[in-house]
Assembly symmetry: C2
Homo-oligomer: 649 residues x 2
């Protein structure tokens, strides 16, 4: 180990230097201005980090509300709304603002997400002018608080099966909203327990006795601070974290709202009591409606990555000043960050954070282009939805893992790990459970193979393959062609990857592409085989579920690496480019290393080469180590957000 | 995938049934009585689980103190003390009681650990009759609360380098205790912020200007509820969890205590002011003193395993009743536990919990035998210390992982995941940071190879290899012999493992033994090579640190598997034996699977065989699935400890 690595230094490797300010510019990109506004606001309201501990639940909820309203006044939270209603008219900037807000207290972040993203987003995207005029101006200032009542106790991820009913009463031109059994109570609804006056309620629409599927309605849940008649609200109580957000349960007992309460952008009930929609297919209609809410996923994924940054800044600065016994000499103990094991724990996480940051840039740009009409067509929406699901899953899992890995020394509340841990875990679950999201990604991929499943319709298999997936162009790919595609992934032919340089990004990309394609073909074959054997499709799907998740994960990791490689290639020469190149290699090779068993099992890594990759990862860690503090400083996390005086002081 | 597995059913496999009550007897073993007493107490005081949320920090600390005193009155917490002072005189039972207490609120557990394990244990094991008579009766009832002031801000794991001074003033026959600089303040000390009247203070003893190393002293820190003169105490404040324990910082400013305050079992200062000790070597003396405190590690490891059980019971019962969409049929959604992915996440964790439970039995028995004088010699103490360190590390990491994996659905405080997560994380750090503990294990292993390091003394390498390791018989093993040993590990010769049955426990054990021996030899070689190249020993060690941790981890996993295999073999025929056999296979094969890249890289797994192991793990999961609820019920976690009414109700 030692020998191979020292040779690198001997062969003329020049350690780059990081220009922190220039790197921050690269990272902040086109949204530097709004990010700096949020940074300023975070510092102004930094006391909220202490208040999160010191105040009781009730007082803290009020404090967070106050602060959200104050921040709204700076324009920070309304960037995504049209300027005619007082918004900033820039969807990309609104996501960037939300991401940056994740450096601070996460209750504030989630309250902002609930009010402006979920509630405001539903009014904006599912409603029409009458709703915009009635609600947008006041909700953008935070004067009118609302909640997004989708999730039910009995139905977490399966929104199409919600139990709440909205029956149309043609005589009175009203909808009657009813909670149909306790499983249909709305649950975990942010803003519900205290502050919401309105709720956007997702319910099964029934018109003239016919069920038309899930639609959204604006329902007053409080009037003058009192819970509205027919509405029952229960407080979800103290949670593990995010106690500044007032989550609650809501029941509706025949609550009547006017016909105009239906958010009618995609479907309406006419004054004559006729249901009509511009989208004929009910499934397509449903997924089109849901699709407009994709910004929530993009936001949460980016927020996860930024929460991870806070933990990594603290951990890196701590490791760069904390000495530990097991010293190099008796006189002075060695710095934590000089230990191989510690480098191995920390530096690949920094590399992955950079990778996910640049992948987030890509999905944010896609979102901006679709929702600003710059590039809005069906394939672009499909790509966006799949990518948002995958990036959200990887970004929030990363946050959980980073906080876990870095939090060892940080048990006291005075540094931020306790709060980060308590507050960020749920990110993997809300805005779509990560496992469910990856299934969505996989289903999108699988529809490419749908031609192999001609006889599946009768068996119901197609339901599992395409149910959640948005429509996809079906490629006529035969099994034979598939194999060729897999081979085509290796630019230098079948054996090329056995000789290619480990630091060749084409090699790294080819490895991740190969893994993805091979896994995808495997899942398709397994599903088909199960169906050919006339086995219960549900059982078959259940048995390949881990493969489904794995292929989606592999797909998203490949996209993340592509984003990182593209970014590095586009940078001007200099220390920052060299440094990011090292990080990109570290991300790619540690990702391959983590799955090296799979690559060996599938003939793409020899034992020798697998070991060489591990040595290269060690070597990259040693090269990145002197850059570590600069690399985390470049994220521009305000020092006030770190707390942890004993650790980083 | 499907084909291979269905064949198992076709070939006459008979699904066993679990006899839950009989299995509980097996698990509770000889300590069923004390475990049942603790279960009863847990149910009696079950309200503490709500109080942990509802009460403020101050009130909750008082409530926990009250409860600990009440439990003490039942005899539960004093089992480890001699009966002449009011204890139970059964060290094994005291550990079993502590383990069982981990089903409940973990603040209560840790308060018990601080008071009776750390404080009481130090008085008992480091003190002599005068200390026993003065303190044991009152501390056993909980009337006299104390703390264990070892950790300092500047020195977490490196106790030999503590900064607190205890200078002997021969004229007045007193020790003068002084905090030497802010890094020497005692920190994170449980019971310090509020309740402790006494502290056992670890400090550098100086007699006649000569430093004699770290010794322990009984120092009053409060008198009549007021902090004693010369003592300063600061509250560590709110923590992420365990807020029922009053952790604090302590400074000493020339605090004088009489000569008799030295806990003098292993060393004393005579009335004439002469330092004397029955153990000449200062290092050996120090490690002998520390060694008497090993029960803390044994306790925490067992507690970690039992905290994991609580999370697994909730998660398993939830998965066995919760239906999810992606259903087998339109009519009824499929149970979570019927999903392959869910089985893969949950069932190997249940298997590993069983494995760690039986490994805990072994280390508890060793502890009992050593400390009851049944089998107390130097090699037995060495074995105990190494095993306690390793079992603690694996048990507490397991708890963190299980709580993380199972906690997805459990975000609200009303079920126990929030508390479990917040309270149990620190288990991996206290009573010895897990990474440091595994280094200790590894050093014990490495001393076997010390003969290969003849020339290391001058270079200081031996310091890294043996510093923390307890004395060990040095085996005269040459590198050549080592290789033979590795080969000897495969009972049927060099290629035997390529053909052996995957479910043959001899095969499974041979794989884990091979991994351990090979890694150990590798670390030894790497250290030697670095030293031969005259490189800085600290740097060399830093670069092999991950290998050092890995070998220790491999060693402990092998011990855990051995304990499980032994247990299954000793069971009478019947459903429980078959069920535990399945679990044991699942533990062994999922452990090998998790490290299959290593086995492939080291020629012990072919690609085909590696894939076969994954298929076998899937198959075992499907066989264990119908037994899952019975297997977790057998742990005997009182239902009141589960809370989570919505999840398991």
């Amino acid at each position: 180990m030692a020998t191979e690595n020292t040779s690198t230094y001997a062969s003329g490797y020049v350690q780059p230097e990081v220009d922190v300010r220039a790197l921050t510019k690269v990272l902040d990109g086109e949204y530097a201005e709004i990010r700096d506004l949020v940074r300023t606001n975070l510092v102004t309201y930094a006391s909220v980090l202490e208040e999160a501990e010191e105040l009781g639940v009730d007082a803290f909820r009020e404090r967070v509300r106050e602060l959200v309203v104050d921040m709204a006044a700076t324009g920070q939270t309304g960037m995504g709304f049209p300027s005619e209603y007082g918004g900033g008219g820039d969807i990309g900037a609104s996501i960037a603002a939300f991401e940056t807000l994740a450096f601070g207290d996460l209750s504030v972040l989630v309250k902002v997400g609930v009010q402006f993203g979920l509630f405001g987003g539903a009014i904006l995207h599912l409603g029409t002018e009458r709703h915009h005029e009635a609600y947008l101006p006041d909700l953008i200032t935070g004067q009118l608080m609302g909640c997004f009542a989708m999730t039910e106790t009995g139905h977490g991820s399966n929104v199409q099966a919600l139990g709440t009913l909205a029956r149309y009463d043609a005589a009175r031109q009203e909808f009657v909203i009813t909670t149909d059994g306790d499983g249909a109570r709305k649950d975990y609804i942010g803003n519900a327990a205290r502050h919401a006056e309105l709720a956007v309620v997702f319910a099964q629409l029934e018109v003239g006795g016919k069920s038309e599927g899930v639609h959204a309605f604006v329902v007053p849940v409080r009037m003058g601070g009192e819970v509205a008649p027919g509405v029952r609200i229960e407080d979800d109580g103290r949670k593990m974290g995010l106690n500044g957000v007032d989550n609650g349960r809501i029941w509706f007992d025949g609550v009547r709202v006017p016909r105009e309460a239906l958010l009618n952008r995609f479907a309406d009930v006419t004054t004559e009591g006729v249901y009509e929609s511009s989208i004929e297919n009910p499934d397509r209609r449903f997924f089109t409606m849901l699709g407009t809410l994709v910004q929530g996923r993009v936001s949460v994924g980016g927020a996860g990555v930024n929460a991870a940054k806070v933990a990594l800044v603290i951990a890196t600065k701590y490791a760069a000043r904390r000495r530990q016994f097991e010293a190099a000499s008796d006189a002075e103990e060695q710095l934590l960050l000089d230990y191989g094991l510690h480098q191995r724990r920390l530096l690949p996480l920094i590399a992955r954070t950079y990778a996910l940051h640049f992948a987030q840039d890509v999905v944010r740009t896609q979102l901006h282009e679709v929702f600003s009409g710059i590039k809005d067509d069906a394939p672009a929406r499909r790509r966006l939805e799949s990518r948002a699901a995958g990036t959200k899953a990887l970004g929030t899992w990363h946050a959980t893992r980073v906080v876990q890995e870095c939090g060892g020394a940080g048990y006291l509340s005075v540094n931020r790990f306790a709060a980060l841990k308590a507050d960020s875990d749920i990110f993997t679950t809300f805005e779509g459970d990560n496992h469910v999201l990856l299934q969505l990604v996989a289903k999108g991929l699988l529809t490419h193979y749908a031609s192999e499943f001609e006889d599946l319709d009768q068996l119901g298999m197609v339901r599992y393959v395409t149910n959640l997936a948005v429509e996809t162009v079906i490629e006529k790919t035969s099994a034979h062609k598939l194999l060729e595609r897999v081979r085509d992934l290796l630019p230098g032919g079948d054996e090329w990857d056995q000789e290619a340089g480990l630091l060749d990004s084409e090699y790294q990309l080819a490895m991740l592409r190969y893994r993805e394609e091979h896994m995808l073909a495997g899942v398709a074959r397994r599903l088909k085989r199960g169906v050919d054997q006339k086995r219960n499709p549900g059982v078959v799907f259940s048995q390949v579920q881990d493969h489904v998740i794995a292929v989606a994960h592999a797909h998203v990791e490949r996209l993340v690496l592509e984003a990182f490689v593209d970014k590095v290639r586009a940078l001007p020469d200099g220390g920052n480019r060299v440094a990011l190149g090292l990080l990109c290699d570290l991300f790619a090779l540690s990702t391959i290393e983590a799955d090296r068993a799979w690559f060996m099992e599938h003939g793409r890594l020899t034992v020798q080469r697998s070991k060489a990759i591990s040595r290269e990862v060690n070597d990259l860690c040693r090269k990145v180590r002197p850059l570590a503090v600069g690399l985390v400083d470049a994220w521009g996390v305000p020092p006030e957000m770190l707390r942890a005086p004993d650790l980083v002081g």
